[in-house]
Amino acid sequence: MSPAVELKDVTLIFGGDHPKDEPVLAVQDIDLSIPAGQFVAVVGPSGCGKTTILNMLAGIIGPTRGSVMRHGEEIDGPSDDIGYMLARSGLSPWRTARRNVELGLEFRGVPRAERRERAMELLAKLRLEGFADSFPSQLSQGMRQRVAIARTLAIDPDLWLMDEPFGALDAQTRLTVQAEFLDLWYETHKTVIFVTHDLEEAVLLADRVVVMTARPGRIKSDTIVDLARPRVIDELRFDPVFRETEHKIWEELRGEIV
């Protein structure tokens, strides 16, 4: 069976608009194969092309060389079975929390009652049922990010692309939202590519951590996180296996950051 996501010898160059602009080599010779249901974290210094990889998988940009495939088929544009979540919540300020969650379902023409039911179910799981009719401006940062999680998952995507989704949250809020997110993922076990600059977050959540080099982004190391699931992340932080794994990956990452 072909993997859920596969990047083969992928190189992407951002050509400048002006002839005198220096073209930028964003990512180089990326080979990555992810089986269905795996939770993969991608870490690396900022500007190393992590977001570029997500954008290629989302079908927003294409590689300059190589091929980007899902289930053995080349990606040729955006598809509606992908959930993409950003660090900034990207919520529509004119929609209530519930109607923000419904957005992707509206695009698919799901009937109103069904949309509503699905949105309320997800909001309840994220402990937001009391805020369904609040506008984003009335919610705290952590709540907005949880609404964004609900919106991403409402369409029941086959592939979850997360671009530093909890990067804007304070440490305590992040821990709670991470735990909730992990529980939601555990129920469905979909393929996740989770970009972050926070190594602890990567090891706590993922099955596998991919470290990228500074620009041009290449894969430096690929480590399996051998921790049992379901995970209780606020306790796991003090687990010796976790500490050891984090330390090992840190040694790889350190060279790229310093």
């Binding site: 989302a58 079908g59 927003i60 955006p78 598809s79 509606d80 079975d81 992908i82 959930g83 993409y84 950003l86 900034r88 990207g90 529509s92 300020p93 004119w94 929609r95 209530t96 957005l103 992707g104 509206e106 695009f107 698919r108 402990r127 009391g130 805020f131 506008f135 401006s137 009335q138 705290s140 940062q141 952590g142 709540m143 919106r151 369409i155 692309l161 304070d170 305590q172 809020t173 821990l175 709670t176």
Partner: protein, 318 residues
């Protein structure tokens, strides 16, 4: 025991959302937050000092006018041949009484109501047609960059022209009737709506666009569910302005040359040195613009209820 559920760890961002009733007893709440009756609340909202000050200012304006202070200028104050505060000769001085008299006369005068209707009709048509065209062109230019690039210089040049200067030409083409006034208003209002609409389309939050595209939104859905709601606040701002400007354009056209309308009535009164009447007509014109503005404000509050929550419960009006 209340303490048991307060002890539970709560995440920081939920802390301010705990309901008062869960944490404190009725007596404690009442002790901490004194109760206010609905009448006390309304009185506080009314803000008596502000209202008194407003009445005072209104009275002051009336007094300056009534005692003819405004007409006695400072003839001696002159810079480079410009005298900003000249004395107004006795015969041209209109009192508040004369102005008020006009209102009592016109009430029974059929021709006045016809003139009023002509001006209102012209302003409404000018506003509606100009705004719709401005909105459509603004959206198209905002969305299609190459169309904007092609049309850009032409729009900038036409917009740079003082549109009022087209009036003699418009009168030749459309005659002195009502159509010429509508056309003038359309040309002026068009740019007031088109320019900010185009800018707003280009400024719609790129995150919203990205999120919608990755969720598989079609071009039409991107437009109706991202672009259109995104530009609504800016469009309403432009519409408010264009309502006032459409009255201005129409009145200018009527003063210049017209058969009927308040502008024609105004210039006739001025030519007859009936300055009381002139003032009264200016007030009536202001009233028309205010009513149009108020109508748009009403629609705005309906359409932008989400914004009210951002501004502490108030959509800023006027």
């Amino acid at each position: 025991m209340r303490s048991s559920d307060v002890d539970e760890p709560r995440e920081a961002d939920m802390a301010d959302q705990i309901r008062l009733a869960d944490a404190l007893s009725q007596e404690e709440v009442e002790a901490l937050i004194p109760e206010e009756s609905i009448w006390a609340y309304r009185l506080r909202q009314l803000d008596i000092p502000v209202q008194l000050l407003r009445i005072g200012i209104l009275f002051g304006i009336w007094a300056l006018w009534h005692y003819e202070v405004v007409w006695d200028g400072w003839e001696w104050f002159s810079v480079a041949g410009i005298t900003p505060f000249p004395d107004v000769p006795e015969t041209f001085r209109a009192s508040p009484g004369e102005t008020w008299e006009y209102f009592t006369q016109i009430y029974h005068e059929k021709l006045f109501w016809q003139d009023l209707w002509v001006t209102v009709k012209e302003a409404l048509f000018g506003f509606a047609i100009g705004s719709i065209l401005g909105l459509l062109v603004g959206i198209v230019l905002g969305r299609f960059r190459r169309v904007a690039k092609t049309m850009g210089p032409f729009i900038v040049i036409i917009n740079a022209m003082p549109k009022i200067a087209f009036l003699p030409l418009i009168l030749i083409v459309y005659g002195v009737g009502e159509t010429s006034k509508v056309v003038l208003a359309v040309i002026i209002v068009f740019f007031i709506v088109q320019v900010p609409t185009q800018a707003a389309v280009a400024l719609v939050d790129p995150d919203l666009d990205l999120v919608a595209r990755t969720m598989g939104a079609s071009q039409r859905q991107l437009f109706t569910k991202v672009t259109l709601p995104g530009i609504t606040p800016a469009v309403f701002g432009a519409l408010r302005l264009s309502a006032v400007i459409s009255v201005l354009a129409v009145v200018f056209g009527e003063i210049f040359s017209a058969r009927r309308g308040l502008g024609q009535r105004l210039i006739t009164a001025a030519n007859q040195l009936s300055y009381g009447d002139t003032f009264a007509i200016v007030f009536i014109l202001a009233l028309i613009a205010l009513i149009m503005n108020g109508g748009i404000g009403f629609a705005e509050r309906k359409a932008l209820r989400w914004q009210a929550t951002q501004q502490g419960g108030q959509v800023i009006s006027l």
